[in-house]
């Protein structure tokens, strides 16, 4: 099991654009940039684990071939977010000539929305002044956190969350390489846990593979400390149905016997509530109760008390609503 000694999200990170799953339209545009050797400044937006970094690195590999590491630099803006980074490090990289016959270099600035507005302001002219020698790829979760003058200088690509097919395809590819057997139930579980985030999917798979090369859904839920969607459904059914004692008992099992973190349980309840077909007024009330508990937990309140009180709130709200 040599493969288990490295982190799979690195081991299986696509080296080429064509190997990427999902984001077909974006990949096609990036490939034509490679073909012509022409690259605008880019702004990648989207949530975690949807391929922004992978696309940037693969693009650089294809543009520069063997010399990609000398002409490509990756920086994370959330590590160093002040104006000095832009005025010193970024400018330093941008102004020096590309190597090995490349016509420009590429600077990938991850989490660019973490840059302070001042730093972003300093970045905008740097992008223009050194456009001859350096192209910028910025990535962020929300493009609205990037100042307008930078958006104005970039082609913006929105990376959507990965769909079920994309996650399944990638998991199957890795499983084949590693000689794993993954049941259909396990695939469903991985898709549920991932929520469109490939990193979560691959981490769950690798975690389970360490235990056993044959992977079923129980292992996936266990290794990720997640409740099954059916269990969450039952928890909601019972509390909305007014059965406090039964709901409380199930809550105890999930929290204590299964070791699921209260935050994770809240996350799952939130997802289930959003999708649940029910009276809207009541739904908003329950979401609010959930949010209140989430907030109190973040303030350091005791999870045991808060979670039980939450169930009680659910029961009460449902009774009033009905």
């Amino acid at each position: 099991m040599d493969g288990n000694r490295t982190i799979w999200i690195e081991k299986y990170r696509p080296r080429k654009l064509e190997e990427m799953v999902g984001q077909k339209d974006i990949v096609a545009r990036l490939q034509s940039y490679v073909k012509t050797g022409d690259l605008p400044h880019l702004l990648f937006t989207g949530s975690a684990g949807v391929g922004k970094t992978t696309a940037a690195v693969a693009l650089a590999r294809e543009l520069f071939g063997d010399a990609w590491q000398t002409n490509f630099r990756e920086m994370n803006a959330s590590d160093e977010r002040g104006i000095d980074v832009v005025r010193n490090q970024i400018k330093q990289f941008a102004r020096t000539s590309p190597l090995a016959g490349a016509s420009f270099k590429v600077l990938f600035l991850d989490e660019a929305d973490a840059l302070t507005p001042d730093a972003q302001a300093a970045l905008r002219r740097t992008m223009e002044t050194y456009a001859q020698t350096c192209r910028f790829i910025l990535s962020c979760n929300y493009s609205s956190k990037i100042i307008d003058p930078i958006q104005s200088r970039c082609a913006i690509y929105r990376f959507g969350p990965l769909d079920r097919e994309a996650v399944v395809e990638e998991i199957r590819r890795i499983a084949a390489h590693e000689g794993l057997t993954v049941t259909d139930g396990a695939l469903d579980a991985i898709v549920y846990i991932a929520q469109g985030d490939m990193r979560k999917a691959i981490n769950a798979l690798q975690g389970a593979a360490i235990l056993n090369p044959t992977i079923d859904e129980t292992m996936i839920y266990e290794i990720t400390a997640t409740a099954r969607p059916e269990e969450i459904g039952e928890l909601l059914d019972r509390s909305i149905g007014g059965e406090f004692n039964e709901a409380e008992q199930l809550l105890g099992e999930l929290l204590h016997d299964r070791g699921i973190a209260p935050n994770e349980l809240i996350n799952q309840c939130y997802r289930a509530l959003i999708q649940r077909d029910m009276d809207r007024t009541l739904k908003v009330k329950l979401i609010d109760a959930l949010g209140e508990v989430d907030f109190r937990l973040s303030e350091g309140a005791s999870s045991d008390i808060q979670m039980k009180a939450l169930i009680a709130q659910f029961v009460l709200a449902a009774q009033k609503g009905a």
Partner: protein, 451 residues
């Protein structure tokens, strides 16, 4: 080479739109003398401010020395670079050097310490023309605004952007299906550079451009916030609303403000009140998010604002137009009003020796009445600008006119004074009106006359 750079206009006549601004710049340059005030070009990104400055320099055969926010701009740095170029003659034989201070509204409080003061000093000492560029005029230090001349650049119309895009397509040999360029121009919301960048990004490696290519590279999805608000009032499904909110790519505080700004579309007051209740609760989550730096809470803000408002609206839909939150406009204009008021109170306080608070609370009405009696006199004595005078007159046009007239009269008075100093013997023969003006301009300060 990217097209925004490749197709950057070289001459003033190539600048797209903003004819009035361009004309103002050209007049300024043609008549430039050491006494001319520097220009401040201001307006949204990507509408030609920097390009116009460079084009002007090229048309005038001036050299350009540029400093922008990517350079450190402390006082010593500014003085070394801009100071030397603005006081010493050019070596390369160009007649003048244009000192260009880009992003002048972005002087960094710490890294650029003393920058604003240095700019004012350089303006005072310069023997060369200076242009400052800013996105937000009212973020410029007040001292800088006081010694410069504003030139406003406006966002460009779709109908001015499209021909430019068509021209670029022709030069690049790209054919477009109908409506594609219009779509790009719309999506750019007035930003020509963004439009050109979108065109570039969509057409690399292609010789035919279709709607499909454009959809992947849009500046942003601002149009969909309207769709989201419409969907909320129409009562679309919870899943749809949250998915659209995700696509809108805006933070929950912005979405919440949009909802709040459209609550008047609710069918009756009870639903409107419920709408406010939900938005207010959502707002509480936004506050908690920022206070705790715990971004998970954002989702409750979104869910409560969107699903709650949808619930309150009960599927009645929107009556009339969906509007951007009024508060955004209000915030910037009230910030501006506040800056103007503070400046005015400072001036009044200095000349009356009354604290600003007292002035505002007890004297403002009285002074207002006095100003209405003889606005020009106050303009001259207190050096009011049009914005400040408008606080009393509530009439922009006449405020501007009074300030212009006052300036003209003061210039005339100054020239007259110079003349009379040169030939003191003759002054007794001057007409009496001029004498009076001289006397007044020689009075040491204003408080004696005004208060």
């Amino acid at each position: 080479m990217d097209w925004a750079e490749k197709y950057r206009p070289r001459h003033l006549q190539d600048i797209v739109g903003n004819a009035a601004a361009v004309r103002q710049m050209y007049e300024w340059a043609k008549t430039w003398s050491r006494r001319s005030r520097p220009l401040v070009l201001y307006g949204k990104p990507g509408i030609g401010k920097t390009s116009s400055a460079y084009a002007l320099a090229r048309d005038m055969r001036w050299e350009v020395v540029e400093l922008n926010a990517s350079d450190q701009r402390t006082k010593p740095v500014l003085e070394r670079i801009a100071g030397s170029s603005s006081t010493t003659a050019s070596l390369s034989g160009a007649t003048r050097k244009l000192v260009l201070l880009d992003e002048a509204d972005n002087l960094h409080a710490h890294a650029d310490r003393g920058g604003a003061r240095a700019i004012v000093d350089i303006i005072a000492e310069s023997r060369q023309p200076i242009i400052l560029i800013a996105n937000d005029y009212y973020r410029l230090a007040k001292e800088i605004r006081a010694v410069t001349e504003p030139v406003q650049f406006r966002a460009l119309q779709v109908r001015s952007i499209v021909p430019r895009l068509r021209q670029i397509c022709a030069e690049e040999g790209i054919s477009c299906t109908g409506g594609v360029l219009e779509e790009i121009a719309e999506a750019a919301s007035g930003d020509l550079r963004a439009a050109i960048n979108m065109l570039y990004a969509a057409s690399i490696g292609k010789d035919r451009l279709t709607g499909e290519d454009v959809h992947t590279v849009r500046k942003d999805e601002r149009s969909t916030i309207f769709e989201l608000i419409a969907a909320v009032f129409k009562g679309r499904s919870d899943g749809d609303l949250l998915r659209m909110a995700y696509e809108v790519d805006d933070t929950p505080d912005a979405i919440e403000q949009w909802i709040e700004g459209n609550l008047h579309h609710m069918p009756d007051f009870a639903s409107r009140a419920r709408g406010y209740d939900y938005v207010s609760r959502a707002d509480e989550y936004v506050g908690r998010t920022y206070r705790r730096q715990y971004y998970t809470l954002w989702r409750y803000a979104n869910a409560i604002a969107l699903l709650g408002a949808a619930d309150a609206a009960g599927g009645h839909g929107v009556r009339g137009r969906i509007q951007p939150p009024a508060r955004w406009g209000m915030m910037s204009s009230s910030k501006r009003q506040k800056a103007i008021r503070t400046g005015l109170l400072r001036k009044l306080s200095q000349s009356t020796h009354i604290p600003q608070n007292t002035l505002r609370e007890e004297f403002f009405t009285l002074i207002g009445l006095l100003v209405e009696q003889d606005p020009k006199r106050f303009v001259k004595e207190l050096q009011l600008d049009a914005d400040e005078l408008n606080l009393f007159l509530h009439d922009r046009t006449s405020a501007a006119r009074v300030v212009r007239e006052a300036a003209r009269e003061e210039r005339a008075a100054a020239t007259a004074e110079k003349k009379s100093r040169k030939k003191p013997a003759k002054s007794a023969a001057d007409p009496p009106e001029k004498r009076r003006e001289e006397e007044r301009s020689e009075r040491p300060s204003s408080q004696a006359t005004l208060f």
